[in-house]
């Protein structure tokens, strides 16, 4: 398997410079760091979690942790092993958190959907369920927890061990996908 960081090795001097600038007070340097590091980190995460939405969430969480741990980067060393170690840590922590908490149901038929009247006028409950089943599990769970069970994003974040921003992102992406899928059935 090709090393996803091969392409970065040549540009590591630039990354080191950007990290130095980010440490010393130029916030904008992180935009360039993100542009350079996000794709390979996401590829790495995706190769382990095999779920695009989950990989996106972990990618963002990794950048949050890179930001928090920015003082630990030593400019004498390459950036990529440092970033990679943090991405690996984020992935393992997520895996550990997942294995410790009860899983939400994967079968959408098990979920009692309180479809509102206005929605019911457009689509049948079964169509909502069918569309929901096509939404990736992490997004689907966020949608169900927020829009069906009424949990706040903070509560979802605490339950699932992710950042509140990530919970919002999952839910909004899930809803957007759900809308697209339901539109395909003639719904609004």
């Amino acid at each position: 398997m090709a090393d996803p960081f091969d392409s970065l090795t040549a540009g590591d001097a630039r990354l080191r410079q950007l990290m130095r600038e980010y440490q010393s007070g130029r916030f904008e340097a992180f935009d360039d760091l993100y542009a350079a590091l996000a794709p390979p980190l996401r590829r790495y995460l995706l190769s382990h979690v095999r779920d695009a939405a989950k990989a996106d969430d972990l990618d963002q969480e990794t950048f949050l942790q890179l930001h928090r741990a920015r003082h630990t980067y030593d400019p004498a060393y390459p950036v990529t092993p440092w970033a990679m170690a943090i991405a690996r840590h984020v992935r393992l922590m997520d895996h550990r958190a997942l294995s410790r908490r009860p899983r939400a149901t994967d079968d959408v038929n098990d979920v009692e959907l309180p479809v509102r009247g206005e929605a019911a006028s457009f689509v049948e409950r079964s169509e909502v369920r069918r569309a929901l089943s096509q939404v990736p599990a992490t997004r689907r769970n966020a949608v169900i927890q927020h829009h069906v069970l009424g949990l706040s994003f903070r509560e979802i974040a605490e339950r699932t061990g992710i950042a509140e921003t990530a919970a919002k992102l999952r839910s909004s992406r899930g809803m957007a996908q759900l809308r697209t899928l339901l539109k395909g059935h003639g719904a609004k």
Partner: protein, 213 residues
């Protein structure tokens, strides 16, 4: 690939310039005052072991060598706490095995040079040496765990184990300068037990600091 605005806002909210961490060796130097205290506490407070003259150079150089090894293990723990600078499995095995082998070799050398067995109150002497050795290590292990937590330990239990091992070696080196019982059964159980307690304390402390931080 652009950074999502939500993420960018969140990072910008608590962004401030930072100073990069000092090297692991430099950070380990911050433990030196605590280490020196752990090293000299027992001989200063109680006295030097009564067979010091019989042991000769071994009494001092052995303890000094063990304390130096402990300091190096502390530096290794602080390096382990930096992302991307983790030790390989083989290196970790070496960091754990080499000091243990050194302590065993020094125990046997001391026994050869000045064989003094525990004749009465074996368990009392065992308990005193184990508890005192572990207690003396506590300030060093705490300081090391705090320094490690200020970095970003991705394997906090391992970082803590190395911190505890280093602190335990230093504390035991000091305790050996007072305890004249060179019987291997006593040294390898009570003194090594004190180091083991220090290792466990380091693991618990480091993991706790990581989860609470």
């Amino acid at each position: 690939m652009n950074m999502p605005l939500g993420l960018r806002d969140r990072l910008a909210a608590d962004y401030a310039p930072v100073r990069p961490l000092a090297s692991p060796f430099t950070r380990a130097m911050w433990c030196v005052p605590f280490a020196l205290l752990a090293l000299v506490a027992a001989p200063l407070f109680y006295d030097v072991r009564r067979d010091a003259a019989a042991l000769g150079w071994l009494a001092w150089t052995a303890s000094l060598a063990q304390a130096t090894a402990g300091f190096l293990v502390i530096a290794a723990a602080l390096r382990e706490s930096v992302p991307g600078r983790s030790w390989s499995g083989l290196s970790i095995a070496a960091w754990l095995a080499a000091p243990a082998a050194m302590a065993i070799a020094l125990t046997l050398a001391s026994w050869q040079a000045s064989p003094i067995a525990v004749r009465n109150g074996w368990w009392f002497v065992f308990a005193v040496c184990l508890a005192s050795s572990a207690a003396t290590a506590l300030p060093v292990v705490t300081m090391t765990a705090v320094l490690a937590a200020r970095a970003y330990p991705t394997r906090p239990a391992l970082t803590g184990a190395l911190a505890g091992l280093g602190a335990g070696l230093i504390a035991d080196a000091g305790w050996r300068m007072f305890c004249h019982f060179s019987e291997p059964a006593h040294v390898l159980s009570a003194h090594m037990g004190g180091i083991a307690v220090s290792v466990i304390a380091g693991m618990l402390l480091s993991t706790r600091l990581k989860t609470s931080g």
